[in-house]
């Protein structure tokens, strides 16, 4: 059962109550509950295909629950308008997001993250938007590459760019889906250090999907495991209970 938080910083950023979801007729998650406080970091572990990404997509409102309820930062997410509003508060780093064929500068790729929040149709990014993009590039340590074409970046630099783009929306929640996939050991370690420092600096709620137990322990306060359609606490406990 989900308990009510007692401290203000523990107010739930994400609250899932008995959520059941799937695709078509296929059940993926059965009566899943999860609470993540506003400054907490939680890891989601599990085998490939267990439903880890589906859980993130539920939080993002890209998959709708068959039953149960979802709240983001204390607001119930029920309608499409709720889902759009909730997404404004979430930064999402997708698994295996790599640059395609389009030439695009690093600065532009980060700026695109503010579409729908700071600028939209027929409006252009402002000086403040560019300043926010520069701040995020500094935060992830690739501000010197801002004029570089994304197609020329290494895997580690691409992932730093993806994190900067997720953060430039100034979200309260950061979702990371296998953030170190396809990176070599050194780049993995550097990225984990970066994420720890971002968490300390920005004080975000973080949900990290991973199949690497050591990495999860470095990044999260506690971890849940998805297995046989259920989400169960694997290790750690919430300081907010």
């Amino acid at each position: 059962m989900v308990k009510s938080p007692s401290k203000p910083e523990c107010a739930p950023a994400i609250l899932l109550r008995d959520v059941t979801a799937g695709y078509g007729h296929q059940l993926v998650l059965d009566s899943v509950s999860l609470v993540v406080g506003r400054r907490e970091s939680v890891a989601i572990l599990g085998e490939n295909g267990a439903g880890k990404t589906t859980l993130l997509r539920l939080i993002l409102g890209l998959v709708q629950p068959w039953s149960g309820s979802i709240e983001i930062e204390g607001k119930a997410v029920e309608s499409e308008a709720d889902r759009r509003r909730a997404r404004q508060r979430i930064g999402y780093v997708m698994q295996g997001s790599v640059p395609g064929k389009l030439p695009i500068s690093v600065e532009d790729a980060v700026l695109l993250g503010r579409w729908g929040k700071a600028f939209s149709y027929l409006t252009r990014p402002s000086k403040q938007d560019r300043a926010a993009a520069t701040r995020m590039l500094e935060l992830v340590g690739i501000e010197d590459l801002k004029r570089r074409d994304c197609r020329e970046l290494s895997g580690g630099q691409v992932q730093r760019l993806n994190i900067a783009r997720a953060l430039v929306r100034e979200p309260g929640i950061l979702l990371l889906d296998e953030p170190t996939t396809h990176l070599d050991r050194n780049a993995q370690a550097a990225l984990v250090d970066l994420l720890r420092s971002i968490r300390q600096t920005l004080g975000l709620a973080m949900v990290v999907v991973s199949h690497d137990e050591d990495q999860a322990r470095s990044l999260a306060d506690r971890a849940y495991r998805i297995s046989d359609l259920a989400l169960t606490l694997d290790w750690g406990e919430s300081a907010c209970r």
Binding site: L60, L62, R84, R87, Y92, M94, S97, P99, G100, K101, L102, P103, I104, S105, D108, A109, L112, G113, W115, G116, F119, Y121, L122, R124, P125, R147, R148, D149, R165
Partner: protein, 277 residues
């Protein structure tokens, strides 16, 4: 006859205006074709045009009417069908291409349609264009330019990462489908300018060159437009100066421009390599 003398005649004036507009704007859609892996789309739409022309001839109508209708319908169907079949739009194009050519051949045989008349669609010349066709090029060119200016960030998002675009709330499918329809129209008009087999000269080659050296979408679009104008109107003027077929002349200039761009790119890469060492 000196070049300037040619330009006193309306036929050459129209051709020059059409070459500047088509070269400068249709080439922008080439970036969409390259980025979304739609290189088979132009063949698919050309074959659908052939089927449309066959239908028109079977109904005793002008072949060009059926061809234009088929191109528009084809480009409208391509995106939604690809999504429904969960297939890459490039693969769906291959399906359209083979299906429509087979249907056209059946029509030629069964309805006794004169096949060579339908295949006449595939030959085009900028000097044979009517005033109405020139106006259509101007209008479609203006629409293409307006769309790229007004929806620059949305197009950039869709071409960069469609999943991200959808996540941020951009109607990615609608943007892509709109670009597909414009691409279909541009291909149909480019067929009238250079002939079906040389459509790439106006649409793809400038985009390929621009994507080699551009570091952002804005740079790519500007370079693309410049290369497109250079190829189309440069080729037209060359054809007048040395008496060559206009379509082939435009293509030669487009290929030469691409070779020059590729050489510049290779020199720049080598220099950067030496500097980095």
């Amino acid at each position: 006859m000196p070049l300037i003398e040619y330009l006193r005649y309306p036929i050459f004036q129209r051709a020059l205006v059409a070459s500047i507009v088509a070269g400068g704007t249709f080439s922008l859609l080439g970036t969409v074709v390259v980025t979304l892996n739609l290189t088979t789309i132009r063949f698919a739409l050309m074959h659908m045009a052939l089927l449309g022309a066959a239908c028109s001839l079977a109904l005793n109508q002008q072949p060009v009417v059926g061809a234009v209708v088929a191109i528009v319908v084809g480009s409208l169907l391509l995106g939604p069908l690809s999504d429904r079949m969960k297939m890459d739009a490039g693969l769906t194009s291959a399906l359209f291409m083979t299906g429509s050519i087979a249907a056209a051949f059946i029509l030629f045989y069964r309805a006794r349609v004169p096949a060579m008349e339908a295949f006449g669609l595939f030959t085009g010349s900028i000097l044979a264009m009517t005033e109405t066709e020139t106006w259509v090029i101007l209008i479609v060119g203006a629409v293409v330019l307006a769309v790229f200016v007004a929806l620059y960030r949305e197009i950039q998002l869709v071409l960069y990462d469609r999943e991200l675009a959808k996540l941020l709330g951009v109607p990615a499918e609608a943007v892509r489908n709109g670009l597909l329809v414009l691409t279909g129209l541009a291909i149909g008009l480019a067929m009238r300018i250079v002939g079906a087999l040389l459509v790439d000269a106006v649409m793809l080659l400038p985009a390929l060159g621009a994507m080699m050296i551009g570091k952002s979408l804005a740079q790519v679009l500007v370079v693309c437009s410049v290369l497109g104008i250079l190829s189309a109107s440069g080729g037209l003027l060359l054809s007048m100066a040395v008496d060559l077929p206009s379509g082939a002349s435009m293509t030669v200039v487009a290929v030469m421009a691409l070779v020059v761009v590729a050489t510049i790119k290779s020199i720049l890469v080598q220099r950067r390599g030496v500097r980095d060492e």
